[in-house]
């Protein structure tokens, strides 16, 4: 009985990590973008682009005779590249052309939905699921994976999960311990002040948005290659927006956002495991949880959350 209990717990927490991974990566991307002063509600669309191109590149790489693992890794890198490219559209429109960043983000999301649907129809002649492709399934890390409980939760996962777990401390370190991070934050708080001491506001904002593209693209690749081995139309299904919620809930701080993603991931995992266990409580209410919590957090009932002062404001010399 006790063993059963512990196994259930480990698998539940492992599932939490799996649900949280795409959220963590996209949320870190969102933090870099918003800390540099560019509001990014395009995370959803960038993830979708990442998911699609990861699948497509893995598919073709495999067709050209690359071994499955290499194909899948190529797909993962490709997702980051295409995530970066699509984020650059957002960057150019909001930095160079000073468009409203929310409007631009909405357009990216629509563009991503259209582009992936278009290509899916064109290349695979389907409007639902892509064919299955080589993926990045769980790769236990020797030794660490055999640690009781923790090994099962953290170290028997897809390689993308490891990247996500490492990305949290790295992001925090870069933002708060390096000159680059100081400048990036300065640009998001008071761009003119940064400009007058010779910090290149535009370049740093492109960097912030570009990082969000790379990370959200990677997050997308986890959906198609980490959790599954196919792409399905609109497979992000709002995860980009949950990541955005985590950014706010975590007060634009990598560790805070990580905590929020774990919470949201846990709500998702427990919902699935309850359904599998045949417990009949309406899963819809659990799925609602991240959104309600974010509203509550925003309303200041769990401490006020202050966005970077210049987020959403175009900079003009």
């Amino acid at each position: 009985m006790e063993i059963l209990f512990s196994v259930l717990t480990v698998s539940l927490f492992a599932a939490t990590i799996r649900s949280a991974t795409p959220l963590v990566l996209a949320a870190l991307g969102g933090i870099f973008s918003e800390r540099s002063g560019i509001v990014n509600i395009a995370l959803e669309g960038i993830m979708l682009i990442g998911a699609f191109f990861a699948m497509m590149i893995s598919f073709y790489a495999n067709q050209y005779g690359l071994p499955p693992l290499v194909s899948a890794l190529t797909g993962m890198v490709g997702a980051m590249v295409f995530g970066f490219l699509i984020s650059m559209i957002h960057a150019v429109v909001s930095i160079r052309f000073r468009a409203d960043q929310v409007v631009g983000g909405v357009a990216i999301n629509i563009l991503a939905l259209g582009l992936t649907g278009f290509l899916l129809q064109l290349i695979f002649e389907t409007s639902g699921n892509s064919p299955s492709v080589p993926n990045l399934a769980a790769m236990p890390i020797p030794i660490l994976a055999s640690i009781p409980i923790l090994g099962g939760i953290f170290f028997n996962q897809s390689p993308i999960v490891y990247v996500a777990l490492l990305a949290v401390p790295i992001s925090s370190f870069v933002l708060f311990r390096t000159p680059l991070g100081l400048r990036l934050r300065a640009v998001g708080e008071h761009p003119k002040a940064a400009d007058t001491v010779g910090v290149n506001v535009f370049r740093l904002r492109y960097l912030g948005v570009g990082l969000s593209g790379v990370l959200a693209g990677l997050a997308g690749s986890y959906l198609s290659l980490g959790q599954l081995n196919i792409f399905t139309e609109n497979m992000t299904n709002g995860r980009g927006f949950i990541a955005l919620a985590a950014v706010i809930f975590g007060k634009w701080n990598p560790w805070g956002a990580f905590g929020a993603c774990l919470l949201f991931g846990f709500a998702d995992a427990i919902q699935i495991s309850l359904q599998n266990a045949g417990v009949n409580i309406p899963s819809d209410f659990l799925l609602m949880l991240p959104y309600i919590l974010t509203l509550v957090a925003l309303a200041g009932f769990i401490g006020r959350s202050r966005p970077p002062a210049a987020a959403g404001v175009s900079y003009e010399k």
């Binding site: 400048r183 008071h190 001491v197």
Partner: protein, 517 residues
């Protein structure tokens, strides 16, 4: 001295923006160890010129020489490399960063592994701060420090980058007379160490006090450079404006009648629940102008907002014609008979994208004859606009023009027309001439005095001491959210007001709290 090569020389600098010549062949040179004043009205092109020197704008024509060598200052980075440091009028400090982080930003000391070396930054700042006698707390957050310290941080920022020339853009606007003295001392110690300083101002007395020479520009054109020995405030003023200027406001003695506004022991808090008004009491009578002097940020803005219903008073009472209006809605207070010229016309005064006609009815837009039920009555609105455009000489093609396309002076006229048009019992004029040219200043002052002579009560708040002294019949001085002094304008001297403004002197018979002490 002039035989030597200037540290900075700008030769025939011209800057053209679409439709405007902001700078038209300006020449300017500053030598080692001198303070050069740069004088001009608002919008004369001082800030643009200095932004060119600092690399924020590129000149359309002309050259800049640093110690005799021509340089192309393509950005702030180049300016910094050339040893040019600038303290901007609006501080360029990140509020959520510490003093140290702000000072090193863009030129950060790093450790061996490439991370921020905070300890080293703090040590360097401490050394600099001792060397130049600029006291700061490197660990404090900018949002928590005083304006004076903010300015010292700005100066340290330039020193940290090895500035050889310091540009100070309107640095005294936000300082107390004492802090201004402190700043002048800092400037002296800098010039003694050989640094030249460029001091931008439109305050004649300060220029007379601190500069060696003054360069004057007017409407983008170079008027000339004058040695301070040859200058006087009158000469500088006429160079700045282009004609002889009446520095004094002409008016008859006042004839105060019944009390219109009575403010009694008002307390209020601002951001972060910090007290901003600590028991303010005073009266304004019909037929008099009461002026409130004080350094910006001592509660004047909040006081107006409390009276006009835009800021909550925690205790105390505001009465208009013996009727309490404390914490009533802005709308009620407008209808009870208070009209206000707000201190910042773009912030509070106007909806810039609205037409002149729509701005003209703001506040009475839902009253007859401008509205019936929720339906707006456009004939009445248009007729009213036509009338005040004529009466107040608002220069515009038509009343449908958006006010954002008007000049500052004409925008201010729209506000004054609207507020006086309410036929109020009390007119509050906050910074009524901020950022308008001298012609408009005279027009606005006459209109305010006309209101007094028509038997209205008038309350004037201004950061310009000259304006308060010129307009008022009675002067109150605010310091740290209190009225610390009350003087009849005819007896007031600038020195005495300065002491009150700095909190070094007080006499407040009108405040019950003080009496009870």
């Amino acid at each position: 001295m002039n035989e030597k090569v200037p540290v900075i020389e700008m030769r025939d600098v011209t800057k053209v923006f679409p439709g405007v010549i902001a700078n038209d062949h300006i020449n300017l040179a500053v030598h080692e160890g001198e303070v050069l004043g740069l004088l001009g009205e608002n919008g004369a092109g001082k800030s643009v010129l200095m932004s060119i020197l600092y690399g924020l704008y590129q000149p359309t024509e002309g050259e800049i020489f640093v110690r005799g060598k021509p340089v192309a200052i393509t950005g702030p980075k180049v300016a910094i490399e050339q040893g040019i440091g600038m303290v901007h009028q609006h501080f360029m400090l990140v509020p959520v960063f510490t003093v140290a982080e702000n000072i090193v930003l863009g030129d950060e000391p790093i450790t061996n592994v490439g991370t921020l070396n905070t300890a080293k930054a703090v040590n360097e700042i401490k050394a600099l701060s001792e060397k130049y006698n600029l006291e700061v707390d490197p660990h404090a957050k900018i949002e928590d420090i005083s304006v004076g310290m903010g300015q010292r941080v700005e100066i340290l920022k330039t020193m940290y980058r090895g500035a050889q020339v310091l540009i100070l853009d309107e640095p005294t606007a936000v300082l107390t007379p004492q802090e201004i003295k402190g700043l002048f001392e800092i400037m002296h110690s800098l010039t003694e160490a050989g640094f030249p300083v460029i001091f931008i101002s439109h305050k004649l007395k300060e220029l007379m006090e601190v500069c060696d020479r003054v360069t004057v520009i007017r409407r983008g054109k170079m008027i000339g450079t004058i040695d301070i020995e040859d200058a006087s405030p009158q000469i500088l003023a006429s160079m700045m404006v282009g004609r002889d200027v009446v520095l004094e406001v002409e008016k008859k003695p006042s004839q105060p009648k019944e009390v219109v506004l009575e403010v009694e022991n008002i307390h209020a808090v601002g951001l972060n629940d910090l007290p901003v008004l600590n028991g303010v009491s005073f009266k304004v009578h019909a037929g008099e102008i009461v002026g409130i002097a004080g350094v910006a940020g001592n509660g004047q803005s909040e006081l107006i907002e409390v009276i006009t219903g835009l800021h909550k008073a925690n205790s105390g009472d505001v009465r208009l014609n013996n009727e309490t209006i404390t914490n009533h809605s802005a709308k009620e207070i407008i209808h009870k008979g208070i009209a206000t010229i707000p201190e910042d016309r773009h912030h509070r005064g106007l909806v810039l994208d609205f037409s002149i006609a729509d701005n003209g009815v703001l506040g009475s837009h839902d009253q007859p004859p401008f509205a019936r039920w929720i339906q707006r009555m456009f004939d009445a609105i248009r007729a009213y606009a036509d009338k005040f455009i004529q009466e107040f000489d608002v220069r515009t093609p038509n009343q449908e023009a958006q006010v954002k396309n008007l000049s500052g002076g004409n925008q201010q006229k729209v506000i004054i027309a609207r507020e006086i048009g309410r036929k109020p019992d009390l007119l509050i004029a906050a910074q009524p001439t901020r950022g308008v040219d001298v012609g408009a200043i005279e027009f606005i002052h006459r209109r305010i005095i006309e209101q007094r002579d028509a038997g209205k009560a008038v309350l004037v708040i201004s950061n310009e001491l000259d304006e308060v002294m010129g307009l008022s019949d009675r002067i109150l001085v605010m310091f740290h959210g209190e009225i610390v002094g009350e003087i009849l304008a005819k007896d007031a001297t600038e020195d005495e007001l300065g002491l009150y403004m700095a909190g070094a002197k007080r006499n407040t018979p009108s405040s019950p709290k003080e009496v009870s002490k």
